[in-house]
């Protein structure tokens, strides 16, 4: 990522003299990139032209070298000011004109230096540490009275996403949603990324976690075995879900049904509607999912695979949960906080068959995380994009077909 950037202005008779062309060539030849902003070409020969150029470079040194090289040709660094901060007036209350974040990489200027904002996420504020060396995105509710919060827009800059080097489906960074789009190449690209992630994860490299947020339709539709296999093979490293996915997964293990339907027979089993309640009750009785798996009560499935593989599971409760299972976080603010703690390190996100968990997870992710949103209902990926997670690739597809195909491409025997 070309994280280092500076804006310069260039004015005068820069078009016919080819000075603009020279400056742009210099930037590229030296290994930087640029965006032209506010290009104004003089309407007459006498009228000067002017432009702003945003220059990006992979390192501070390279950026400085580029600036040094282009300054003699009239490029002057735009005068920039430090960001302004104000103390939070009370716990959980931001200063009135707080800066609201996007999920794009963001920097603030403090004491003349640009500083990356850690844990960037959309719709948060930016808190600056007392010493002024650390800037971090913070949710409104987590703010404490007196915290220094960035206000206004001065001294804040948002860095547009660079087109990734990989020329795959994520390279387009667009969330066109259509049931008519072919699925195979998207799944193949997701699989390629997952293979890379597994390698990187094994080498303990950063941003190598694959996060899956899923809904119970995964179980109903028949995607349980495929997802279990993906977890067992080390392709998935974090699971976000609700009470239902876990309950039906374990119901399937204990009773062979999902919400009362025989998964193999394909018809309602007598008193099958009680199965998930009995499942939840047994888990509550034994103390939790982990105990159920380690005791041998739960033998197979998604939850068993997560426990065995050490994959952290965040279960967030919703309003009509049965039970809920032990471990389900019923306070949504606490659930949000728990999810947020696992976001740093995520390098790929799969949001599968859940409106609530997909949108909630998607909106917690920085724009730099490649994301695929799979749902049989096109409104889900559309909603996610409408809520700002534009980087998510939408795939209108049944959850089981997606997971089975993904697992097949990744080598699951069929």
């Amino acid at each position: 990522m070309n994280h280092y950037q500076e804006r310069v202005c260039l004015q005068g008779h820069i078009i016919d003299s080819l000075v603009l062309a020279k400056v742009l060539d210099l930037i590229l030849m030296m290994g930087g990139t640029f965006d032209l902003e506010d290009v104004h070409i003089g309407k007459t020969r006498e009228e000067p032209s002017h432009t702003r150029i945003r220059i990006q470079a992979a390192s501070r040194t390279l950026l400085d070298d580029i600036l040094k090289a282009i300054q003699p040709h009239g490029a002057s660094i735009e005068r920039e000011a430090d960001c302004r901060t104000d103390g939070a007036p009370a716990d959980g209350v931001l200063p009135d004109d707080f800066y609201a974040t996007t999920h794009l990489p963001t920097q603030i200027r403090l004491n003349g230096q640009w500083l990356d904002v850690d844990r960037i996420e959309m719709d948060l504020a930016i808190a600056v540490s007392e010493a002024g060396f650390v800037a971090q995105a913070v949710p409104m509710g987590e703010v404490r009275r007196g915290d220094q919060i960035v206000i206004g827009r001065e001294g804040v800059r948002v860095i547009p996403l660079q087109r990734p080097r990989e020329r795959d489906v994520f390279g387009f960074m667009e969330s066109q949603v259509s049931a008519e789009r072919p699925h195979a190449h998207i799944i193949a690209d997701v699989a390629t990324r997952m293979r890379q992630m597994r390698e990187r994860h094994r080498e303990r490299q950063r941003d190598s976690h694959v996060l899956l947020a899923g809904g119970p339709a995964i179980i109903h539709a028949g995607g349980r075995e495929a997802l279990t296999w993906l977890i067992e093979q080390g392709f998935i490293h974090i699971l976000f879900c609700g009470n239902a996915l876990a309950a039906h997964d374990m119901e399937a293990d204990l009773f062979g049904t999902s919400l009362g339907y025989g998964l193999t027979a394909g018809r309602a089993v007598p008193h099958g509607h009680e199965h998930h309640l009995r499942t939840i009750n047994r888990i509550r009785a034994i103390g939790g999912i982990e105990a159920a798996v380690t005791s041998g009560m739960i033998k197979q499935g998604i939850m068993a695979a997560c426990v065995r593989q050490g994959v952290p599971v965040i279960m967030s409760g919703t309003i009509r949960d049965d039970g809920p299972l032990p471990g389900v976080i019923t306070d949504s603010v606490l659930a949000q906080r728990a999810m947020r703690t696992l976001i740093p390190g995520v390098g790929l996100a799969l949001l599968v068959a859940s409106t609530l968990h997909s949108v909630a997870t998607g909106n917690l992710l920085p724009a730099t995380v490649p994301t695929v949103c799979v749902d049989v209902n096109p409104s889900v990926p559309t909603k996610l994009a409408d809520r700002g997670s534009f980087q998510a690739v939408g795939l209108v597809m049944d959850a089981a077909s997606f997971l089975s195909e993904l697992a097949r491409v990744l080598g699951r025997p069929t």
Binding site: G12, I14, D16, S17, L18, A21, G74
Partner: protein, 266 residues
């Protein structure tokens, strides 16, 4: 009647080295320099028919003789130079005083910018060229362009031997141009070629460029240029100019020739 500002070389000499031509060891023959300068003045006054305004030379300012670097004059306004090298900065007040004494409106550029007058800003009536990088700063051109409502095409000077634009580029009254292409990068060369058609342009050969063929004084159909530039001279004649040769090798020891020794006043 054209008027030119000149300054007698009473105190001319090599007292410092601020361009590749200057060598302290290379002593100026004072008598010879005086004779060459007076010959140039004679040609300008008698053959070309210009009016000469003579500045008073100042001891300790050997380069005051190069009045092209006093500033630029546009109508009744004079923009006084701000020299890059401290050695020449004391000249500024003398030029400024002279302009004020003659009743010009005197304009100065911002303190932190360098601008070396008609040495780096010259052109045609409709547009000008501005030489930058060696002496003048790029940034003065947008300012002067706005002040005088003139297009100024900045040209980077890439060869330190041609440290002022007037050492390698000479616009002529008929729309022609003498220039030494290698003193510019490919952008500058392309910008020049874009403006001036092939047949109006003479790419001066290197040997003549190094004699400062481009440092010529053009007034109407007269061109005064250093001796030893037959190709340039022939081309000028072919274009209908009357050429006048003058030996100025004593001044070349300092990196200056005919044009550097004059400043067009109107």
């Amino acid at each position: 009647m054209s008027r030119l500002l000149v300054c007698p070389p009473e105190f001319f000499g090599i007292e410092y080295e601020i361009n590749p031509w200057m060598r302290l060891a290379n002593r100026v023959d004072h008598g010879r320099a005086m004779r060459q300068w007076h010959e140039l003045m004679r040609i300008l006054e008698k053959d070309v028919g210009v009016v000469l305004e003579r500045m008073t030379p100042i001891p300790g300012l050997p380069d005051l003789v190069f009045t092209a670097n006093a500033g630029i004059v546009v109508g009744r306004t004079a923009v006084v130079s701000r020299f890059r090298y401290p050695e020449r900065q004391p000249e500024e007040t003398h030029f400024e005083d002279w302009f004020r004494g003659q009743g010009y409106d005197v304009v100065t550029v911002e303190h932190e910018l360098y601008f070396e007058g008609a040495g780096d800003l010259l052109g045609f009536p409709e547009y000008w060229f501005g030489g930058y990088r060696q002496r003048s700063d790029f940034h003065v051109f947008p300012v002067l362009s706005e002040r005088f409502h003139r297009e100024i095409i900045p040209l980077e000077l890439v060869d330190s031997r041609f440290y002022h634009l007037d050492t390698c580029l000479c616009p002529l009254s008929g729309g022609e141009l003498l220039y030494f292409p290698a003193a510019f990068d490919r952008y500058g060369q392309a910008a020049i070629a874009e403006r001036i058609p092939d047949k109006l342009r003479l790419a001066v050969p290197e040997d003549e460029a190094l004699l400062f063929a481009c440092n010529a004084v053009n007034v109407g159909k007269h061109v005064v240029l250093p001796t030893g530039c037959p190709t340039t001279q022939a081309w000028l004649r072919m274009r209908g100019y009357e050429t006048h040769q003058v030996q100025l090798d004593e001044f070349m020891k300092s990196g200056g020739s005919a044009k550097c020794l004059t400043l067009a006043l109107d």
